[in-house]
Symmetry: C3
Subunit: 328 residues, 3 copies
């Protein structure tokens, strides 16, 4: 398989070949990261610009480390001190980074569609730069869903993660689906691969419209306004961060009530398969979306493994966008 996608903006149209290419390539880089010498010279002399218009430390550092381990040079954009405050448009900012010699742009923005708009402008200009969506509003966060996928597959078969492992697995995503770009990207990837996906959340945070995301895709998609049916016999449970700012919007009565109804607790996990595993994109509100002790239980929680997978998967994405061969 040859990687042909210049930009990684959404998983809505990712093919199984592409998911597979990411898995295989990430597995190779995961091996590199287990060596003492964790760097490869692949992107030496290339420039990766991290344009995080929305502030972030965790994801930005993950991309920065991925880039450095590929020997790329990195540029960081600090929104507070930038030309944006001087009236420059976002497209002009991106064009400035292009003109400086940026080879890849990793873009996060609070508004959906900004990475795509930048990618389209780059294409219109005939630029060879690649754009990666590192989270745009409530739209998508492809690298997060890809690292979730890689994490799940490596749990199922550490030596050789592959897509077929997910066939027939039941995966629950619990929480604020409505506002979650992580959920949206995971819905695309997991339904494409043929998992059985169950979304659960209060009606205000899980509109029925989401059912349509499953139309015409290999996997099955179910919606639940209570948590029990989603957890029943689940192989994996993904909880989502509950953003406290939602409280003021009358979408939730209280954090305490949310935890009562949808929080993942040890008791509730008894509904799941005996070897169920929990994922969370982080940062976690302990005691809200998940009981504090579950998060720390290495038998249950994949949270640290997700972060570790994140570096390998992002190395894979930068590498593939940079013209690297699948599974080097």
């Amino acid at each position: 398989m040859v990687w042909n996608r210049r930009h990684i903006l959404s998983l809505a149209d990712f093919t199984t070949d592409e998911y597979d290419a990411v898995l295989q390539t990430a597995a190779s880089f995961q091996e590199v990261l287990n060596r003492r010498m964790k760097k490869v010279p692949t992107l030496q002399g290339q420039v990766v610009a991290n344009l995080f218009f929305e502030a972030s430390t965790r994801t930005r550092n993950s991309f920065e480390l991925a880039a450095k381990r590929l020997s790329a040079d990195t540029l960081n954009f600090a929104p507070g001190t930038s030309s944006l405050t001087k009236g420059e448009t976002i497209l002009d900012t991106a064009k400035t980074y292009l003109a400086m010699g940026t080879d890849m742009m990793v873009i996060r923005h609070q508004q959906a569609g900004v990475p795509m708009a930048i990618a389209q402008e780059m294409d219109r200009l005939g630029a060879k730069v690649s754009v990666l969506n590192a989270g745009d509003g409530q739209h998508e966060h492809p690298s997060q869903a890809l690292l979730d996928l890689f994490t799940i597959c490596t749990v199922l078969e550490p030596k050789s993660p592959h897509l077929e492992l997910l066939a027939g697995k039941k995966i629950a995503i619990v929480g604020d689906i409505l506002h979650s770009r992580v959920a949206r990207s995971n819905i695309w990837s997991l339904t494409a691969i043929g998992a059985e996906l169950h979304l659960a959340g209060p009606p205000t945070l899980l509109p029925l419209l989401f059912a349509e995301c499953g139309n015409g895709r290999p996997g099955k998609l179910f919606l639940h306004w209570e948590v029990t049916p989603a957890l029943q016999d689940a192989d994996f449970v993904m909880t989502l961060r509950l953003q406290k700012e939602r409280m003021g919007q009358n979408l939730l009565p209280s954090l305490r009530e949310y935890h009562q109804l949808f929080g993942i607790t040890r008791d509730r996990l008894k509904l799941c398969k005996p070897d169920v595993k929990i994922l969370h994109p982080g940062p976690v509100n302990r005691g809200v979306e998940i009981s504090s002790d579950l998060m720390d239980d290495p038998q249950l929680s994949l949270i640290s493994q997700q972060v570790t997978s994140g570096v390998a998967v992002r190395m894979a994405l930068l590498y593939l966008m940079g013209g690297g061969k699948v599974n080097p």
Copy 2:
């Protein structure tokens, strides 16, 4: 020619030999930047400290990339979180970076004269560090004027940019001359080289005092309080950023009126030479100092090329200050 200038603080006393050295050296680095492997080991082990007391992303990233492409290590100074807020003087901050082992300091400050004060203190201490003024108040911004010069010369003769190309060329600088450090540095460089330089702006933003900058210099300098005579048969038009904060100072009636009187539009460009080119130091207020569509017209606008030249010119400056030979 041997480069003898330790600090680059102002273009007021730059010699034509020095302008030429920068052009030739930048041209060499521009070639490096067109290769796949864009790094050279010139400054390996050297430390470039970017001391941006005035916040900036664009210029700081340009210098940072230039330093990294020369294989230097970079240190970044974040004014908000620094010792300055703890009562340390600016000179003491600079001495701390010197003591840490900094080889070159790239300094931006909202007050004119700070880079020079630091350079003088470094000299007084017998330190071998080089200081580069990356913009000080309304005083100067030498690297911007040098990249403008390099951009213009490479447009005129891409293979072999040289100063003689500018002889007799008419260049207009339009806008808020009074507050522009970019304009001041460009006035020094372009009058030194023998261009015919026309400044245009409203009387509040273009005091007659500027006429004296041309005294005793090879180039001719003209001032205009309207835009037409400046554009007439111009070969190059530089527009300047109109800082919105000027509005509150009764210097301008409104942005709209400014655009009406001094904005660069397609109609006005008909006054210029048929192959006129437009420059702007960025960031641009689209529709204020320049019509939005002109900025995007690759036949007219050199804005992206200026940003690209910026990296090559800044590599050249760091390289020359670091003891490199002209035109390596």
Copy 3:
């Protein structure tokens, strides 16, 4: 001697062998820093995360440069834009950096004990990461005291700094002892090595409890509520930064009165040994804790040398924690 300490959190239980190991190793790196090529490949592929929960430019840059000169990759944490503001606990933030593949964490926090809490959590998890305390509340700042020690020893014998040089030397620490983590770490190191240590400050800033720090340690410890007896025949005088925010807490009448009573002036220095030297951890309030002119007198002030030593000592600490041999 073999270095066995995984974390560097406090100097309270440092052994003389360990102090000696740091001195010898820092001396080797100081030599490296005097070469033109100031980098060594020791930590290539390793990741040093600078987690400065309390903002700092000076110390962060010193650690960053030390890491880069050892060829490590560095990650920087920006507290303002981090997951902390989203409700993540500090331990979870540290675990995220661990999971990303961090090899060493350099931690500064406004609360005492945070680096130790993180180190304990890392040990509990069986992680091989090293934690270095870069200043925690009013508790300790070990790398500062170690660079002070290295600075003093290299002044006494530049070619071969060693601990015995300090035997019988009189060292005064003057100022706000109560709130100073720098003072606490220096008290541990200097009393361990056998110096004669005199603390001086106003009673509100020097509680009698400090006398107990000398119990059972080789060096002698004296407390003074006036400056004269501390300076009498002193070989070295360390002044401490007076934090202006103390003014509002009724601990000091005024900065002026503080300077009158405890400020280090040329007159007061006449009490000391003729070749007395002054240290200050920076940033300095000129004219408060020390007269401005003394600070700039190269015969008296070791302030710049402390900053320079800082890079060598921090290289030594990262190197030793990373498994390097003493005195490479």
